[in-house]
């Protein structure tokens, strides 16, 4: 959750479809990187409004 109160969600776009996801129980999640091995990386926040940011990797 950012200071404006809107929630960020990570999204993967593949084969014409959008898949929304997020780190479990996170307030905000963003997917910033992806490789060709079905791995994505990003960061999330566990609290509303204020961080701290924490990193994640995810496979799909």
């Amino acid at each position: 959750m950012n200071s404006s109160g809107t929630k960020a969600q990570a999204v993967l776009f593949q084969a014409g479809k959008f898949y929304t996801f997020g780190y479990p129980k996170s307030a905000d999640s963003s997917a910033t990187g992806i490789n060709d091995k079905s791995e994505v990386v990003g960061y999330y926040q566990t609290k509303t409004i204020s961080g701290p940011d924490q990193g994640f990797t995810a496979t799909y």
């Binding site: 960020a8 969600q9 993967l12 776009f13 997917a31 990193g55 799909y60």
Partner: protein
Amino acid sequence: MKTCRWLLLFPGFVLVFMMAATAADAPTLTFKFTKYNVPGASATGIGGINNSGVIVGEYEDTKSVQHCFMLSGGKVTTINYPKAASDSCIHINSKGAIVGASKNTAGVTKGFVYQNGKFTDVPGPSGARSAVAYGINDSGVVVGTYTDAKDELHGFELKGKTYKILDPPGSILTIATGINNAGNVVMFYGKSGALESALYNGKTYKTINVPGAANSFAFDINTEATSFMRR
């Protein structure tokens, strides 16, 4: 490092374009998550991962200074641009070339490529006041953003020593964030009070906004998929 760290290199524009998202149904995939924080850091953000699983990002130390890091084989390496006040690593290609940005003590941001222990500056096209390198493919083509003399943001592609400016039609600011090995570039841009995303194939721009999102931020592209943040 509260939200969207890479954007904080240009702090004015993020706040201007924050808008509420509306819910949208979407198909699901199963994701298996692993949390990672740099030991001792107060905050960690991961920017990129290459096909060998090497990760780059940034962390905030106990003095609230941001540093680049690389995680390879379980070992964390801090990468500091010489004499920088802070720096960020954003992406890494399969040859180990890392792109990112450093900020000097005057607050000026400059992009870089880091490979084999050596930094190469990415200052942006002639006349640029600041720049960030966001993405790099395995051919070494770099994409990013720069501010011009009017402090307006434009996307760029850097091939060799030649810059190509990337601005989708009607955009009032552009940040090019990722490029794959086919040369397809993803970016997000400001238009009509919202942030939209586009895919550029070298000739044309195709809009790829997340359905139902007030703002769509395309961050990276691989051979067949694109990663986003939506708000």
